[in-house]
Symmetry: D2
Subunit: 460 residues, 4 copies
Amino acid sequence: MSSKGSVVLAYSGGLDTSCILVWLKEQGYDVIAYLVRERPRCLLVSVCLPASAQVASLSAHCYSFKPGFSSLKPGDGGVSAEAPGALYASWPLSLPTSSSGFLFPQVFIEDVSREFVEEFIWPAIQSSALYEDRYLLGTSLARPCIARKQVEIAQREGAKYVSHGATGKGNDQVRFELTCYSLAPQIKVIAPWRMPEFYNRFKGRNDLMEYAKQHGIPIPVTPKNPWSMDENLMHISYEAGILENPKNQAPPGLYTKTQDPAKAPNTPDILEIEFRKGVPVKVTNVKDGTTHQTSLELFMYLNEVAGKHGVGRIDIVENRFIGMKSRGIYETPAGTILYHAHLDIEAFTMDREVRKIKQGLGLKFAELVYTGFWHSPECEFVRHCIAKSQERVEGKVQVSVLKGQVYILGRESPLSLYNEELVSMNVQGDYEPIDATGFININSLRLKEYHRLQSKVTAK
Amino acid sequence: MSSKGSVVLAYSGGLDTSCILVWLKEQGYDVIAYLVRERPRCLLVSVCLPASAQVASLSAHCYSFKPGFSSLKPGDGGVSAEAPGALYASWPLSLPTSSSGFLFPQVFIEDVSREFVEEFIWPAIQSSALYEDRYLLGTSLARPCIARKQVEIAQREGAKYVSHGATGKGNDQVRFELTCYSLAPQIKVIAPWRMPEFYNRFKGRNDLMEYAKQHGIPIPVTPKNPWSMDENLMHISYEAGILENPKNQAPPGLYTKTQDPAKAPNTPDILEIEFRKGVPVKVTNVKDGTTHQTSLELFMYLNEVAGKHGVGRIDIVENRFIGMKSRGIYETPAGTILYHAHLDIEAFTMDREVRKIKQGLGLKFAELVYTGFWHSPECEFVRHCIAKSQERVEGKVQVSVLKGQVYILGRESPLSLYNEELVSMNVQGDYEPIDATGFININSLRLKEYHRLQSKVTAK
Amino acid sequence: MSSKGSVVLAYSGGLDTSCILVWLKEQGYDVIAYLVRERPRCLLVSVCLPASAQVASLSAHCYSFKPGFSSLKPGDGGVSAEAPGALYASWPLSLPTSSSGFLFPQVFIEDVSREFVEEFIWPAIQSSALYEDRYLLGTSLARPCIARKQVEIAQREGAKYVSHGATGKGNDQVRFELTCYSLAPQIKVIAPWRMPEFYNRFKGRNDLMEYAKQHGIPIPVTPKNPWSMDENLMHISYEAGILENPKNQAPPGLYTKTQDPAKAPNTPDILEIEFRKGVPVKVTNVKDGTTHQTSLELFMYLNEVAGKHGVGRIDIVENRFIGMKSRGIYETPAGTILYHAHLDIEAFTMDREVRKIKQGLGLKFAELVYTGFWHSPECEFVRHCIAKSQERVEGKVQVSVLKGQVYILGRESPLSLYNEELVSMNVQGDYEPIDATGFININSLRLKEYHRLQSKVTAK
Amino acid sequence: MSSKGSVVLAYSGGLDTSCILVWLKEQGYDVIAYLVRERPRCLLVSVCLPASAQVASLSAHCYSFKPGFSSLKPGDGGVSAEAPGALYASWPLSLPTSSSGFLFPQVFIEDVSREFVEEFIWPAIQSSALYEDRYLLGTSLARPCIARKQVEIAQREGAKYVSHGATGKGNDQVRFELTCYSLAPQIKVIAPWRMPEFYNRFKGRNDLMEYAKQHGIPIPVTPKNPWSMDENLMHISYEAGILENPKNQAPPGLYTKTQDPAKAPNTPDILEIEFRKGVPVKVTNVKDGTTHQTSLELFMYLNEVAGKHGVGRIDIVENRFIGMKSRGIYETPAGTILYHAHLDIEAFTMDREVRKIKQGLGLKFAELVYTGFWHSPECEFVRHCIAKSQERVEGKVQVSVLKGQVYILGRESPLSLYNEELVSMNVQGDYEPIDATGFININSLRLKEYHRLQSKVTAK
């Protein structure tokens, strides 16, 4: 059978995308698996494949933008110079093969963690982006980041197709595909979970397991939780399964990124977070003096501190783009601290009326990100405007992190619009109290007119 | 000296308004003191007057809308049937007199606690009202409630003037006066802190103390905190003094309405809060079965539970209406629980697009309340619209209250728009996955066109 | 062949829907043709069928809500008492038949003109609804009106299907179908122009003509314009064909509802339009005293006057819901006059801040109507809020209509918020000019603070 | 008497500011008169002073930023090289003197016409700025332009005061003063019409006339209209006097900038207006080939054409910033053409969703300009964002100007997002009609859910 062409598959290493990978080959496509690494230190945890699986010519095609990655090949120890610790302890990398041998023509492993933080999370922090007043958009932000890289690979490799394992009822399919179409309109997306020939064949997990067994796809040995999870550097979501009943409480053992607040330490960590242009540039642990100054490191450090203190859990019902309500439980540790700290330094340094306009733009931004329109003219426009508003959002915020909560303790800034003398109750400053009389009187003019009319109407 | 007429003074019993009271008499006004009671159980705590002070004809003019109040007179024990506990333990009511005798022509004691909850706090809960993303508007909501009653008394008593002790730099002066002018445009407001003849005479606390001593005004014996406080049933604010430096952390002993979260109980209280039309109608403590069903009682109970667990503290810099930034520390215990619980039941029962429009109205509402425009045509209009949006916001939310945090555990509703079958990952339901393909394709059309243009532009 | 069930077809009498009608029968459906009459006096103009066509049992199923319609039957003269003039001059009603005889099981002729005006156009006038700042939404408003009735018939007749002739690239398909699904979720829509078996068979007008000839469908004898038109009581649109080139100017003979402004009368008509609750209740021609007081009549009269003077033409490029830009030329005679007159009386009677909030709601309303969401929870909500805002929009506006323009000449109202004495340059009234000083000073406070910061930043 | 210091007076040459000028001298100020010229060719029309008046040392202090102005001195012919025509025909400049001689220490004549067009009118055109849906903001835009220059002179000359003749009930006082305080917070504004010592002395026009006579101030000989006027390069406003009754129609002879539409030419002028970055860069009269390419010239040419055809008249009731409603009649000839032409080219080239966000910003911009906040952080921010949105608003619009109306005839652009093939009714293009089915179905999902709930509720 002649090939239908190449397809770049967003491959997670889980059962679904492993089966999709083999199925795509069955359908006649050359498959390029693309493993995204927006989560440093936990890249391959979910792959869980036996070392015996065969992988062909991995090193030959391995893209990498970090020094430590360039020479990875099967059998390597996989420790990256850049991210200390047991980064690649799970190597030698083992990927599924068909029983007959070479499964993959190509595998790309992309480290997008830094660009995820700087190009996606930072704008969200600047925007104070909350979807429907609660959701910090952890998954939504990751999707355009992943899909952008996927398109990049497709373009470099001359692949006409991209594929993903997102379901047909969710938001992720939209986020993936709108990104693809925005950046490469001619690309074709293969979404198996929306293709009757796929979803009629694989009606449940058992069908996938059976298929995996037949095709030598390693099957996860850990028992599956009765809910689904999706994790990245910023957050983790839990949904489906027993959580579909919105009254069911989250089971105790569900959470993985944050400690149970009831069991968290009894003493807070006190952090000083420094912002420049609305973005954190330095985090200092006041007690032990620990300091982090690069985006990725400080974000990971905040994840660690917040996680230890149980910060960032929510349980919500939200409105999906396709129009249904769904229930999700999320953990967003570092994001939660930064949301609060940024709000505070922004309020301290930004003019009231600019803030009000920016608040409206932030609402729009959150909606656009949630619905998958990151790569759209309107989202580009909104990001530009919000970035403009952040030019003078600069200063330090002191926060206490304790038992699931983030408390603002104080703030300082060289660019503050706060005027201690002006606001003082003890000092008059340049302020003339009599002016307030005129201000109030003029503001009441319209109200008095309205009262006049009401009296007239009532008199009738 | 013939009288200049009657003035109804919003009298708190503190040093400032006690001095203003005497000063107004000096200026030739007949003063009607008006003590507002929007805080059940703590009405007269702040008055702190010696029993020897003489009060004339109090009972004759005492307005009351609650049964237990109608027969109050000097010397009464002051226990109200309606609000159990040591409500009036501080009676006999003792109010400042001049050394020469009768100070007051009239005193009105108004219990507005129920109307404060039902007519002011409930609409704020329905609106999810947050000023500048953080402030639940505790003080802002109380002002129009107090001023409305003050105007009512002025109208009944034929007083042409009202007076208050608010400073000339704050928001409260605006909130008081806009309410007065809205409801009674012909009324004149006397704001001593904006009158040079007053503020030049009383340049600091010492001047007031001296004046009080001279005029037999009882002086608070408790040492004054180095900050100012303002409390009502919903919240308490701390500002000024040492808090004026926005970097200074709140001193440990500052908080009065909530327990230190670090010292709060290690086990949560689990509450079930039931809403109807967006308003709480029943609170049940799941553990001990305690239940409250009237607005005032359930609100006070939530204050108690939240206070015990340290819920509702914030430290913010906000933008005052008159244009300066100020720093405030607030506690809003019950309000914080209700904010979260209401958000949840609303998201569960309200259509996505209605919610988005209502969110915009809620932002407007918060701004109007903060700036003192409660009694304005636009705020009336917004309240009407928001109330309309709440008609089907009904159901029960389970929350856990622990260590300063409120966690949503689950929710149920007879009017939910959540469809468990539709959203299920395991059941297809009526949903056709193929429709999502068309949905995404059409949504991408515009993005593809934009890409086409960009390519054209770049090609040039 | 056993029937697949009944389908209610929105039938215009034109070539497309006539062919669709026959094609649906071919496919095995029982067809109920539904002719909507939202344009009084021109109901059947477009049918143009030969008198020889056979129609079965029409009278038996003819619904009618107007007295004059109840006894219509084939062969009747068809003059309605209610709408004088040559209303049914084209009767006996002749509808297409197959050569073999009975084509229609049923025909419904619905007069929705009054409900179109009162339930759809009036709310749009109250909202000052303009899509993208220019389009008065003439077509958009008609669609939910037509589709609602179509669903009503389907429900009464037990039909499971509805069908329409809208194209697959336009807005109308969305408007029709969202209305159907909103009101009757279980209904199935048959949209032939989106079905490959239909659009691959009928690739152009010639294919339709050929098919019509084969099936005895009467073919319009008038030569088709090189553009398409869609008309209703409120407006007419011209698009497609030679107008698809956005640079091409409208040909001189294109317009049908309005006179060429250059050739319009040299003297204006002066109208006095009276509003109550934001809706016109009386129109008087000041010169000749003509008066109209019912909604339908006054709207038709305004169409006549505006049309005579060339009022209501626009040529725009707009953004369709599905994401493409299209070019349309529209005439909306009465709607244009009412838009301007209503703006004026609203500005005269509505509080400034209420107006600003209502303006935002009106923008949302326009978007919802354009995109087909008339029958949606959010549009219901917005209409409710806007109607509330109109309670006191009452009074008379004098307008001059001349050469394509509507000029406001003056206005009066018993509920105006305009205060001639207050605004007078000659009378001081209650106004204290000194108050403006305080007002300005307080408003400048924030600006001065911003300047202070800028100086500080620059100084660095 | 020693001088109180220098005051820069915005001097119009009319009775009011002439009297203010002398009065300020009386009060002990050194007065610097500042005559603004934002209206080329009609600078001194309103001065109307007899040639015999003495003016001292004018040339010595005459600022000018245009080459042609630098050498102006009393007695000069005053023809500017830059603005051909009878620009300074009224020279020698004659300004009021006291009978005793030197009235003015200094006179500054500033030509701000180009910066008015480029820095103030162009951003308004880009913003499609309309206050309350109708007013093109002609006066509002001029004020910050005038006041900015006034502050500039004050700063150069070391004057601590600025003064203006705006009334205490209007918007202009706010616009002047907020600009002053924004740009120079330490400056003091002297607003005589808000000072009791001034307005109690000059209670009406007669008092001013008397004063003028006493002080040798030339009195305008032309009879004053029973309304007041204010003109600049962009527009003219008529208000007050007989126009204060909102029912009174504008008298026939009132208009000065536009021809009566009824008497305007019977044949249109056809213009092609070319935009780049949302700003007009070229205007061509299609009939006679006249072309203008500089901002000032093309704007003046459009004023001429629009004026000839009676374009740009409105009669409105608007809401002033200080809270009262006022009635104004305005002419904005060129602005009206540009508003329409810009809307059209913007719709043609801007993405739908960007447009929607920009529309919101434009509404905000209009409000800020109207209320005098041009020089504010929020207005700067909004202008920046709007300018960003205009980067690709480029192309040519053809318009017809006739009898008071502007008709769009067609448009073209190298950066259009319009895709003729995509939208075509005859060509399928890349478009898949079947996608619309999915799009509609998914959009209906939410509506069906809402219907399901309603049925459930009703069933109860």
